[in-house]
């Protein structure tokens, strides 16, 4: 034991306490920073050196030092947040699509399609009552045009929602690529700092935030490596490995017509066109489901199926009214012909639908050319509104189906969001800074610092006694 070793012990304490105080200061400075994980200085006592063989003094430890600034994150809580975020991302994309779709439908307001169909049937009934009244026939034509216009507006509304969703999917994928590149960059810097023995805690916080964002977007999972980097996996492939990031691209259907024709929108690796990424979750996966083609079992794309329902209403309206109208006769005894025209060249029945009669006198209401003022066909057509397979019934069942699915999607999204919020709450509770506990830590570090300074003074006094006061006997 050297005479001066106590001084270095006190010095080590002064240095260590100051460092710990700095860590507490960093924590308090970031008490409100999003994504910051609290840190703790790990203080370790320096062990005494092994005594020499003939040493007489008992050895005392050599003070204290900061071995590490630890980042107090919990890998399990982080993984839980990522899984819950992935599920919430998928379901919220679907719920949002349904809720927009419902607004497009406009039901059950009186002015929506169901109300317009009712008005059309009433107009037919009125025209049947007064076959000799041109005004009643004009009302039929106007109401028929209104219904056709609404069907087309509905179809276009669904198609434009599809376009918007695809555009937003592309921008989400861009975001994924940008985040993946940032993660790769951070991986590189973290590895460099870690290998040189530094602390990259703040960079790790940034990286974790980006990875959580990737989980929310494409359901990314991670794999930590010994050198401090993480690999990000998406749909069974590697998105980020060390300092290298791959990129995703949106492929498949580019227009609603293609999607309605059965072609899906897919995500593929940008450097390997055609290699599809099978996303298992995340916002992008939810949007892909929304954009998907229709499926007979009702599990296909939300929008293409809604459009198919609008088409079904248009077809039912045109074929059923035409069937009755073609068998009927106008007041001057001519056959009725078709009232609605379905363009066979149009991919969508709703968009190809038009009212082919333009002259009100061409509306046929009589069931017999010898009965010019008979209105029985008008009555028969007005009864289509109540028929089981009629356009009204088709539309009502479509609205109720969409309503039921929207309700289910929104409650599933709410549950997933609650799970995500709970997981995040737990993570935040573990990782965020508690100002009270930091204050207490600060107090203790401050006191330790004061104590170490006192030790230094004591040793100084002791040496003063030894050096200046000894050997003066009899002087």
């Amino acid at each position: 034991m050297s005479t001066f070793s106590g001084i270095s012990t006190a010095l080590s304490s002064l240095q260590a306490q100051r460092q710990a105080l700095e860590v507490a200061g960093q924590n308090i400075a970031n008490a409100g920073t999003a994504g910051y994980t609290r840190q703790r200085a790990d203080l370790t006592a320096v062990s005494a050196s092994t005594p020499a063989m003939f040493s007489t003094s008992t050895s005392v430890g050599g003070g204290v030092r900061v071995t590490d600034v630890q980042r107090l994150s919990d890998a399990f809580l982080d993984a839980k947040v990522r899984a819950a975020t992935t599920a919430a991302g998928t379901l919220s994309a679907q719920a949002t699509a349904y809720s927009t779709l419902e607004t497009t439908l406009g039901e059950p307001a009186k002015t929506a399609l169901s109300g317009q169909l009712s008005a059309l049937w009433s107009a037919w009934s009125d025209a049947g009552n007064q076959p000799d009244d041109g005004a009643a026939r004009s009302v039929v034509l106007e109401d028929a045009r209104t219904v056709v216009g609404t069907l087309q507006t509905l179809y276009r509304g669904v198609a434009s929602q599809w376009d918007q969703t695809r555009t937003s999917t592309v921008s989400l994928v861009d975001q994924v690529n940008a985040s993946a590149a940032s993660v790769a960059d951070l991986n590189d810097r973290i590895r460099a700092i870690t290998t040189s023995g530094g602390s990259a805690n703040e960079l790790q916080d940034q990286r974790d935030q980006l990875v959580t964002q990737l989980s929310s977007l494409v359901g990314a999972t991670t794999q930590a490596r010994a050198d401090g980097t993480v690999d990000v996996l998406v749909g069974g492939g590697t998105l980020v490995q060390g300092a290298h990031a791959a990129a995703l691209a949106v492929a498949g259907a580019t227009s609603f017509a293609q999607a309605a024709g059965g072609s899906a929108v897919t995500i593929e690796w940008a450097d390997r066109p055609g290699a599809t990424v099978a996303l298992t979750g995340g916002q992008v996966a939810g949007q892909l489901h929304v954009l998907g083609p229709a499926d007979p079992s009702g599990t296909g794309g939300v929008l293409t199926e809604a459009a198919a329902q609008v088409d079904a209403v248009a077809t039912a309206l045109a074929t059923q009214v035409n069937a009755l109208h073609q068998a009927a006769y106008t007041t001057d005894g001519q056959a009725g012909g078709e009232l609605f025209h379905l363009d066979p060249g149009s991919a969508s029945a709703a968009l190809g639908l038009s009212v082919s009669v333009t002259d009100p006198t061409r509306i046929a209401l009589s069931d017999d050319p010898a009965k010019p003022l008979d209105g029985s066909v008008g009555d028969a057509i007005s009864r289509l509104g109540a028929s089981a397979g009629g356009p009204d019934a088709t539309w009502a069942s479509a609205v109720v189906t969409i309503g039921t699915r929207a309700q289910a999607a929104s409650s599933r999204a709410a549950v997933a969001e609650a799970a995500r919020s709970t997981a995040e709450q737990q993570q935040v509770a573990n990782a965020s800074v508690d100002v009270d506990s930091e204050t207490v830590d600060m107090l203790s570090f401050q006191r330790s610092y004061e104590g170490a300074a006192r030790v230094l003074t004591a040793i100084d006094d002791m040496l003063d006694t030894l050096i200046n006061k000894t050997g003066s006997v009899g002087r």
């Binding site: 008490a31 409100g32 349904y98 809720s99 419902e102 439908l105 039901e107 059950p108 009186k110 169901s114 109300g115 009712s118 008005a119 049937w121 009433s122 009934s125 009125d126 009552n129 007064q130 000799d132 009244d133 009589s366 017999d368 010898a370 009965k371 010019p372 003022l373 008979d374 209105g375 029985s376 009555d379 007005s382 509104g385 109540a386 009204d392 539309w395 009502a396 609205v399 109720v400 969409i402 309503g403 039921t404 929207a406 309700q407 929104s410 919020s421 995040e424 709450q425 737990q426 935040v428 509770a429 573990n430 965020s432 800074v433 508690d434 100002v435 009270d436 204050t439 207490v440 107090l443």
Partner: protein, 305 residues
């Protein structure tokens, strides 16, 4: 496991809870201001299905109501026309009986014949009665009149009925319910007769008999009685149909009321309940705000000097 609580986690959960409270308030306020429970189908899919079905029912009932009003107008026209025709035929019968009196001179018989012809013209215009420009005794014909007259060179008049199709008069019907229709026109051929059998030809014969010196108009009394009773049958059938229309109307009124009530039950809010919910939600929100103000402020630093 004791949960660690930090300022940030408390702040987050407080914000989330305040947000939930606000969302609940917003949804209640939306209900209250819109007055309806179902503004999009997902609010209540089963209710939406009911609303759509009930609205459709309501629309068809409104239409049936309009049809019934139209039917009433037709039947009223028929009824008043037939009443006048009955009076006219009775008058013609009285004149015919008068004409059978052998003591009448030629001048008096001529006067009777002229009056009979006047009655005939009245009957003809009654038979061609219209409602909103449509002849009510001509079925589905668009000829504009139920009976056309033609005068031959020798002065004989012929009458023909325009409404006959395939040997019968097609019915003009109005729908008063999903399975209820009622005939609203009169069968002109049955009421006034067709061609030679028509009441007009009959009265022409009576007039001719009165004008010929040894003619006996009373031989036509039986025919006149037969026509009178045919008219009476037509008239009472109109009355019976009017009864059906009235019954259908009152049934429509009560079922319209039913449907409106049901629709209200499905889609309208219970105002008292929503107000109460809103009040209690407001209290909860204020409580949450108060709690936030207390818990987020202090730290240990406030107590260390």
């Amino acid at each position: 496991m004791t949960t660690r609580v930090t300022q940030l986690s408390m702040q987050r959960s407080t914000l989330a809870n305040l947000q939930l409270n606000m969302a609940a308030m917003a949804s209640l306020q939306e209900r209250m201001s819109s007055g309806t429970k179902i503004s999009v189908p997902s609010d209540d899919p089963a209710g939406t299905s009911d609303v759509l079905a009930l609205r459709r029912q309501q629309a068809s009932m409104t239409q049936y109501g309009r049809n019934a009003d139209d039917a009433t107008a037709w039947l009223t026209t028929l009824d008043s026309t037939l009443s006048s025709s009955l009076v006219s035929v009775r008058r013609a019968r009285d004149l015919t009986v008068q004409g059978g009196n052998g003591a009448l001179g030629a001048q008096a018989r001529e006067a009777l014949a002229t009056e009979i012809e006047g009655v005939r013209d009245g009957l003809l215009s009654q038979a061609n009665a219209t409602y909103l420009g449509r002849t009510v005794f001509a079925g589905t014909s668009n000829a504009g009149v139920a009976f056309t007259t033609a005068t031959a060179a020798d002065g004989t008049r012929t009458y023909s009925y325009t409404g006959t199709v395939n040997g019968e008069t097609p019915a003009v019907e109005r729908r008063l319910g999903d399975d209820v229709t009622v005939r609203v026109d009169g069968d002109g051929a049955a009421v006034y007769g067709d061609g030679d059998d028509s009441v007009f030809a009959l009265l022409d014969k009576v007039a001719a008999a009165l004008r010929s010196p040894d003619g006996d108009p009373t031989q036509y009394l039986d025919a006149i009685d037969a026509r009178y009773s045919a008219m009476l049958t037509g008239s009472s059938s109109v009355g019976a149909r009017q009864n059906r229309v009235d019954a259908a109307k009152s049934a429509l009124q009560s079922s319209t009321l039913n449907v409106t009530t049901q629709l209200g039950n499905v889609q309208d809010i219970d105002l008292a309940q929503v107000i109460l919910d809103l009040e209690s939600q407001q209290v909860a929100y204020q409580g949450a705000l108060g709690a936030t103000a207390r818990t987020l402020q202090p730290t240990l630093l406030d107590f260390l000097q």
